[in-house]
C-alpha cells in the first residue's frame, strides 16, 4: 500500500474527522486575507487623500497584519497538530493492524501528512476566498458611509501570504501530530479495547533546554529594558525583544507548565465524582491538554499585555501631566483606548481559533471514551453528572489557560510601561489592571468553558450504558 492510497481511502471513508482542521485552517487564512486586503485598501485610499506618507501607512498596516496573521496561524497550527495527534490516538488499532500486515511506520506517517496537505490546501483556498469577500464587504460599507475605499483586488499578490502560510502550517502540523504513528507497535493490534494507560510526557531535552534558555535570556532582557527605562524611553525596545524571547520560551515549555496548573485548578473544582473525573481526564494526555489550551494562553497573554501596558501608561500620564490642558490628556487616553481595543479584537481572533481547538479536543476525547462513559452510566452516572464531568474538564482548561495568560500579561504589560515611561514618572509605578478588564476576563473564561463543553456534552450524554458492553 502506498502512503497516497492510504491517505485517499482515509479521506474518502471518514472526511468528517478533518472538518475541524479544515475550519481552523480556513479561519486563519480568512483572517489573514481580510486583514491584508483591508490594509491594501486603506493604503490605496490614503494615497488618494492628503494623509502624508501613504506608502508608510500601507507598509505599517501590512507589517501589523502579518504579525497578527502570524499569531493566528501559529495558534491554528498548534490546534491542528493536536487534532491530528488525537485522531491518530483513535486510530491506534487500525494502524497497528496495518503494521502487522507490513506497512512501515514511515509510510503511515507520510500518509497522515498527505491528508494534512489536502486539508491545508482546501482550507486555505476556502479561507482566502472568504477573507477577500469580507474585505469587499468592508469596502462596500465604507463607500456607503462616504469613505471612498477601493474594491479589493482579487489577484493581489499579498493574498499569497495567508494562502501559503495557512496551507504550509496545516501540512506541517499534520506531520508533527502524525509523529504519534511512530509510537504504535504491531502488538497493539492484539490487545482488545482495554483501559489504556496514561500517556507519558516524552522527554525532549534539547527543546526544553532551548526554551529554558530563551526564558532566562528573555527575562534578563526584560529586566534590563526596565532598568534602562528609568533613564530613557529607548529601554522599551530592549524590553520588547526580551519579552518576545521569553514568551517564545514559555510557549516552548507549555507542555511542562500547563499540566501542573491544570492539576491545581482541577482540585479547586470540587470533590464530587463528576468534577474529579473530569479533572482527571486532562491528566491522561498531558501533551494533548497543554496543546488544547496554549492557544488561549497566547491570546490572553497578548491581550492582557496591551491592556495593562496601556492602562499603566495612562496612569503615569495622568500623574505626570497634572498641569497639562485637560483636552490634550483626554485625547491621548482616547487614542490609547481605541488602539488597545482594536489590538485586543485582532488577537481575540486567535482565541476563537483556540476555542475551536478546545471544542474539538474535548469532542474527540469523548468519542474515544465511549465505552468508559457507557460504563459510568451503567454504574450510576446520570446524564447531568456526565454533562458536569465534561464541563469540569473544559472549565479546568479555560481557567488554567486564562490564569497563566493574565499572570504573564500583567508582568509583560507592566514591564513595557515601566520601560517606556519609567524616566518620566515620579514615584513608584504599579501595574494598573482595569476593573472592566477583570470582569471581561471572568465572563470570557466562563463563556469559553461553557461553550467548549456544549458539543462534547451532547455527544457524551447520547452514549447509552449498553455502549459500554458492546465489545467491538
Amino acid at each position: 500500500m502506498s502512503s497516497r492510497t492510504l491517505a485517499r481511502s482515509e479521506l474518502a471513508r471518514r472526511p468528517g474527522q478533518h472538518l475541524p482542521s479544515l475550519l481552523v485552517t480556513a479561519l486563519g487564512a480568512a483572517f489573514g486575507a481580510a486583514l491584508l486586503a483591508v490594509s491594501s485598501m486603506i493604503g490605496d485610499y490614503a494615497a488618494t487623500t492628503a494623509i502624508g506618507g501613504s506608502a508608510g501607512v500601507e507598509r505599517m498596516l501590512t507589517v501589523l497584519s502579518i504579525l497578527f496573521l502570524g499569531i493566528a496561524v501559529f495558534v491554528a497550527g498548534v490546534v491542528t497538530t493536536n487534532t491530528f495527534s488525537t485522531i491518530i490516538a483513535g486510530r491506534v488499532h487500525e494502524i497497528a493492524l496495518a503494521r502487522v500486515l507490513g506497512a512501515s511506520a514511515r509510510d503511515l506517517r507520510r500518509s497522515v501528512a498527505t491528508e494534512g496537505a489536502v486539508v491545508g490546501l482546501l482550507g486555505s483556498v476556502l479561507g482566502v476566498g472568504v477573507g477577500w469577500a469580507v474585505a469587499a464587504l468592508v469596502g462596500v460599507i465604507g463607500r456607503a458611509s462616504g469613505v471612498a475605499l477601493p474594491v479589493p483586488e482579487v489577484l493581489d499578490p499579498v493574498l499569497a501570504v495567508p494562502l501559503v502560510a495557512s496551507a504550509l502550517t496545516t501540512w506541517l502540523a499534520s506531520w508533527l501530530g502524525g509523529a504519534r504513528v511512530l509510537t504504535v507497535t504491531p502488538m497493539q493490534a492484539l490487545g482488545s479495547a482495554e483501559e489504556a494507560p496514561y500517556d507519558r510526557l516524552s522527554r525532549r531535552p534539547v527543546r526544553t533546554g532551548l526554551a529554558v534558555l530563551a526564558v532566562a535570556a528573555g527575562a534578563v532582557g526584560l529586566g534590563a529594558g526596565v532598568m534602562m527605562g528609568q533613564s530613557s524611553s529607548s529601554g522599551v525596545l530592549v524590553a520588547f525583544l526580551g519579552g518576545v524571547l521569553s514568551f517564545i520560551g514559555v510557549i516552548g515549555l507549555s507542555r511542562l507548565i500547563i499540566p501542573p496548573v491544570l492539576r491545581v485548578i482541577g482540585t479547586l473544582l470540587g470533590r464530587g465524582a463528576p468534577a474529579r473525573l473530569g479533572a482527571a481526564n486532562a491528566m491522561r494526555h498531558p501533551e494533548r491538554s497543554a496543546r488544547s489550551t496554549v492557544g488561549i494562553v497566547i491570546g490572553v497573554t497578548l491581550i492582557t499585555t496591551f491592556v495593562v501596558a496601556a492602562s499603566t501608561a495612562r496612569t503615569v500620564l495622568f500623574a505626570t501631566t497634572a498641569g497639562a490642558p485637560e483636552e490634550y490628556v483626554e485625547e491621548a487616553s482616547r487614542i490609547i483606548d481605541n488602539v488597545t481595543l482594536v489590538f485586543a479584537g485582532l488577537i481575540g481572533f486567535a482565541v476563537v481559533i483556540a476555542l475551536v481547538g478546545l471544542v474539538n479536543t474535548l469532542t474527540l476525547g469523548v468519542m474515544q471514551r465511549r465505552r468508559e462513559i457507557g460504563l459510568l452510566r451503567a454504574v450510576g452516572f446520570t446524564r447531568g453528572q456526565v454533562r458536569r464531568m465534561i464541563t469540569a474538564e473544559s472549565a479546568q482548561g479555560a481557567i488554567a489557560a486564562t490564569a497563566i495568560g493574565v499572570l504573564l500579561g500583567v508582568v509583560y504589560g507592566w514591564s513595557g510601561a515601566l520601560a517606556l515611561l519609567g524616566s518620566v514618572s515620579s514615584g513608584a509605578v504599579w501595574p494598573t489592571v482595569p476593573l472592566a478588564f477583570v470582569a471581561a476576563v471572568v465572563v470570557v473564561t466562563a463563556a469559553v468553558a461553557l461553550l467548549a463543553a456544549l458539543i462534547p456534552s451532547r455527544r457524551a450524554t447520547r452514549v447509552t450504558p449498553v455502549a459500554a458492553l458492546a465489545v467491538d
Partner: protein, 250 residues
C-alpha cells in the same frame, strides 16, 4: 431450602425487538421469570439466544419493547432515565466481561464510585464491609493501583468488590470470566459463590461456560429469546449436555 424463595427481581412477558418492522429481529420473546433472593442464578444458552439482552433490561440498562420488569419492589419499566440511573447506582451491582473499571481512578476509587456518585462517604459499617471485601478479594496491597497496573483477574476482582460494596439488591454479571484463564476463572467464580453463600447476595450471571454455571444454585436456559429450561444445581458435564442439545435444536 426450608424457606420459600422470595423473588428479588423479575420480568413478565418481556419482549425486545431490534430493527424496523420489515426486518425485525426478536431478541426476547415474551419471557417471564424471576431471580430468587439470596440465590446465585446462571443464565445459559446458545449465542444470540438473548441472554445479554435479558440481563440489560432486567438490570435497567436498556429499555424493553413490551412487558414489565421489577427490581425489588420497584417496577423499572417506565422509569425515567435519572430515576433508573439512581436505582442502578444503589440497587444493582455490575460485573462485565471487560472494561469494568474507570482508568483514571485507583482501585479504591473504583470501589467507592457508587458512593461518590451519591455524594456521600460510606458509613463506618460500610467502610468495614468494604475493607473486608478488599481483604477477602486479595486486593489489600493493590488499593492505590490504577487499572492498567492490574492483571485481568485482579481487575475482575475489583469489579466484584465494587458490585458488592453497596450490598445491592442484585448483582448482574455478564460473562465475568469470559476473558480469563481457567485458574483465574475458578477464583472469580468461587468469590461470587461465596458472596451468595456467606452474605446472601443475590447474583444473576450470564455465561457460556458450563464449568462457570456449575457454581450456581440454579441455571436458566434461553433459546431463540425464550426460556426453555429451569434447572437446579448441576455438574458441568450435565450442563454441557443440555447446551449441546439446545445448540443442535436451533
Amino acid at each position: 431450602m426450608s424457606q420459600p424463595l422470595r423473588a428479588i427481581a423479575r420480568v413478565e412477558q418481556l419482549s425486545k425487538h431490534y430493527g424496523s418492522e420489515q426486518a425485525r429481529v426478536t431478541a426476547l420473546d415474551a419471557v417471564t421469570l424471576s431471580f430468587a433472593a439470596g440465590q446465585f442464578t446462571a443464565v445459559m444458552g446458545p449465542s444470540g439466544s438473548g441472554k445479554s439482552t435479558l440481563m440489560h433490561i432486567a438490570a435497567g440498562l436498556d429499555s424493553a419493547s413490551s412487558g414489565r420488569a421489577w427490581i425489588g419492589s420497584t417496577e423499572i419499566t417506565g422509569l425515567g432515565d435519572d430515576e433508573l440511573t439512581v436505582l442502578r447506582r444503589r440497587e444493582v451491582g455490575f460485573v462485565f466481561q471487560s472494561f469494568n473499571l474507570v482508568p483514571t481512578l485507583d482501585v479504591r476509587g473504583n470501589i467507592l464510585l457508587p458512593f461518590d456518585l451519591d455524594g456521600r462517604t460510606p458509613t463506618a459499617a460500610e467502610t468495614a464491609w468494604i475493607d473486608e471485601l478488599i481483604a477477602r478479594l486479595g486486593l489489600r496491597d493493590r488499593t492505590a493501583h490504577r487499572p492498567h497496573e492490574l492483571s485481568g483477574g485482579q481487575k475482575q476482582r475489583v469489579a466484584i468488590a465494587r458490585a458488592l460494596a453497596t450490598r445491592p439488591t442484585l448483582v448482574f454479571a455478564d460473562e465475568p470470566t469470559g476473558a480469563l484463564d481457567s485458574a483465574t476463572s475458578r477464583d472469580v467464580l468461587r468469590l461470587l459463590q461465596d458472596a451468595s453463600r456467606d452474605f446472601g447476595q443475590s447474583i444473576a450471571m450470564v455465561t457460556h461456560d458450563p464449568v462457570a454455571a456449575a457454581h450456581a444454585d440454579r441455571v436458566l436456559f434461553l433459546a431463540d429469546g425464550r426460556l426453555v429450561r429451569d434447572s437446579g444445581p448441576a455438574s458441568a458435564a450435565e450442563l454441557s449436555g443440555i447446551v449441546l442439545g439446545l445448540e443442535d435444536a436451533s
